[in-house]
């Protein structure tokens, strides 16, 4: 029988769970745990400079590796600082366990120093949260937390640990449960065979089909199955912002991504389709535009692991609840066995129509003049990194440009806060990726607004040697806010202009990194090459881009999917 203190049990459970990294910040209520951490070397701890960054870092790690991230913070402010990060992970269904210290159980409810009801505060933004009530429970609670976080529709799980659960001199028997079974939690492991058959029949009969794939394909590790099915059918595919990389962007069947800033051809094809096969996406408002005008002629097959995502905003004709990989695999088998074949003539004329849409506009931007265009920066980076980099982004115009002009052929490489839209996400997320992918190029595409929301992490990058490349598309304004003000508020730029920007070069240097400024169009490619050649340095690249550029296409508010601005003057 092995006797351990609660703190040692916690760390031991993390080891037994196979956790490599914890991102965190110590404090009073977590000190027993930090001491246990000190006395071992299997689980490595990364000390951030602000708890929000710890969560984004764990998030970036989870998105790039597909494994749950782990965060450790103290009670009170340590815990509340994680909320934005947790909400970010929750909206994008990222598996994560956040371990929070808490004041001793005897003090709970007495407004003790650094006491916050973290279970209550986090409740609306977690998949689940758990409290430790006895030290002996710790291994089971930890096992349960990771099990819930990483199965079904993944999400963040908070574990609240009162300080007296980790007291060093109180030891209990350590038993790490082999299996967890919860009578009230049984995620689907396969889809309904009858529904899948029905869906395949509809796919075969469709004249204007489109596949609409989402982040669920990336999270469900189903890119291979999706690609196989789509190629087998020869149908067009679009994906959401979260689904980028789930199907190779360079493939001819890929129409780009859809929605508010999606491509003209993908939005047109969605609107005019007669069958939408939705795979692991959730018809959110940034995709559908006005729901009552959504794709009037389309029947909808919706595959999702979460039944609550189905028919939430758009009614599905054929709902299929199950893991996307298993469902797609069954569909592939059925398509192979099917006596029916797709209607070749109908599909050919559908492609002809789509190719016309492609030719009509496509992704393009005006690139005359002397100023550096933000789109041009992304295209250049994509070319110089062969489209192979891990790209994290913050939120705003730069995020949309990055998603539009960097072509991802693989999943898990485009990492952004799609659901919550959290500024300050990009740098810590990039750090989480770089830590486990030291030999890969990791780019953080950001803007001078977003980067300042977690810029303190430049210090963490120094401590742990994380040579990410920060690409700051500096337009000296909160670009997306300004764009909306231009379009909807007669260019009244209320609070969207940033005066007194820091000298980012000096700032990077102050943190011990390299800073590079690019402000001349003709220098762009050469300087970016130099930057990418500095393999072992974090380089902060401050690029002065066109201050007046807007992101297009852009759906017209309250319109249908096909109502878009294609540039400042062209509206369809």
């Amino acid at each position: 029988m092995e006797l351990l203190s609660g703190a040692d049990m916690l760390i031991r459970s993390l080891q037994d769970e196979g956790i490599e990294y914890i991102y965190g910040y110590p404090g009073g209520a977590a000190l027993h745990i930090y001491d246990a951490l000190f006395r071992q070397d299997k689980v490595k701890h990364i000390l951030v400079r602000h708890e929000q960054a710890a969560v984004h870092m764990a998030d970036g790690y989870a998105r790039a590796t597909g494994k749950p991230g782990t965060v450790l913070v103290t009670s009170g402010p340590g815990a509340t600082n994680t909320i934005t990060g947790i909400a970010t992970a929750f909206m994008d269904s990222i598996p994560m366990v956040v371990l929070c210290g808490q004041v001793a159980s005897t003090l709970i409810g007495e407004d003790a120093f650094q006491e916050t009801d973290m279970i209550g505060v986090s409740r609306p933004v977690v998949k689940h949260n758990l409290s430790v009530r006895h030290p002996e429970e710790i291994p089971e609670v930890i096992r349960k937390a990771y099990y819930i976080a990483s199965t079904g529709r993944p999400g963040p799980v908070v574990v609240d640990i009162p300080k007296d659960m980790t007291t060093p001199n109180e030891r209990f028997e350590y038993v790490f449960p082999k299996k967890i079974k919860l009578r009230s939690y049984n995620p689907a492991i396969r889809g309904h065979a009858g529904q899948i058959k029905k869906a395949v029949d509809m796919l075969m009969a469709a004249k204007r089909p489109i596949i609409y794939a989402g982040g669920g394909v990336v999270l469900g590790k189903a890119s291979d199955q999706l690609t196989e099915l789509v190629r087998m059918l020869g149908y067009p595919i679009t994906n959401t912002l979260m689904g980028i990389g789930c199907y190779p962007a360079s493939d001819k069947q890929h129409l780009g991504w859809l929605g508010m800033h999606g491509t003209y051809e993908s939005n047109m094809a969605m609107h005019h389709s007669d069958l939408i096969l939705c795979v692991g996406a959730r018809f959110d408002d940034r995709v559908t535009n006005a729901t009552e005008k959504f794709c009037p002629g389309a029947r909808i097959v919706h595959i999702d692991i979460d039944p609550a995502s189905i028919s939430k905003t758009i009614d599905a004709d054929v709902p299929i609840v199950g893991p996307v990989d298993a469902v797609l695999k069954e569909m592939i088998t059925l398509v192979k066995e099917s006596k029916d074949k797709p209607d070749a003539d109908a599909i050919a004329s559908w492609w002809k129509q789509i190719d016309e849409w492609r030719a009509f506009h496509g992704m393009r931007y005006e690139n005359s003049g002397d100023t550096i265009k933000p789109q041009e920066v992304i295209e250049t980076l994509c070319r110089l990194t062969n489209g192979e980099a891990y790209v994290t982004s913050d939120v705003g115009q730069h995020q949309m440009f990055a998603a539009q002009y960097y072509k991802f052929d693989k999943p898990n490489r485009w990492i952004n806060s799609g659901g919550l839209g959290t500024m300050g996400f990009g740098l810590p997320a990039a750090m989480g990726v770089k830590l486990t992918h030291p030999d890969d190029e990791v780019l953080c595409i950001t803007g001078e607004g977003s980067i300042q929301m977690n810029i303190q992490e430049l210090s963490t990058c120094k401590q742990y040697n994380l040579p990410v490349k920060i690409i700051n598309l500096n337009n000296q304004a909160l670009g997306m806010v300004k764009q909306w003000q231009d379009m909807n508020y007669e260019s009244r730029h209320s609070q969207s202009y940033m005066e007194s920007l820091p000298d980012f070069i000096k700032l990077a240097e102050a943190y011990g990194h390299v800073g590079v400024r690019i402000d001349r169009k003709e220098d762009l490619e050469a300087k970016l090459k130099e930057v990418l050649a500095m393999k072992d340095e974090l380089v902060f690249v401050d690029i002065y881009v066109d201050r007046f550029e807007h992101v297009y296409p852009m759906q017209v508010a309250r319109g249908s999917m096909k109502d878009m601005w294609l540039s400042k003057t062209e509206r369809v």
Partner: protein
Amino acid sequence: MRRIISVLLENEPGALSRVVGLFSQRNYNIETLTVAPTEDETLSRLTVTTTGSDKVIEQITKQLNKLIEVVKLVDLTEGSHIERELMLVKLKTTGSQRAEIKRTVDIFRGQIVDVTSSVYTVQLAGDSEKLDGFIQAVGTSGVLEVVRTGVSGIARGEKVLSL
């Protein structure tokens, strides 16, 4: 449309707040809510009455099912069912009113469970409409205090909500 959703919930601290939180967080209505442990002490049974379109009700049941601590649930209004609510009413009763009130209580098959010289406390069980009907019949002017438990319900026949 009014619905009665009956939920088997893990009897754990915080479980109830998750259910209640879900309703406010997603802008759903709670009209009544009752909760108590069942014969299996690890489980609570919670009954909530709510209103909403079919689409909203579908979302409510799906979202409830997603809560880790929700073991099982049923929308009782989908089938035939029995619903009951208990009410205690304190009525001001003096003089000739006392006999009249007593008769009304009998008609509604209630019981007078406490008596003082000026007050009757009446206990009444039934569906919510019956309880409303009683208040109407005695007239609101004599009502000093009302306390209602909210609706509990159970399906008719062989159907049971259990593990």
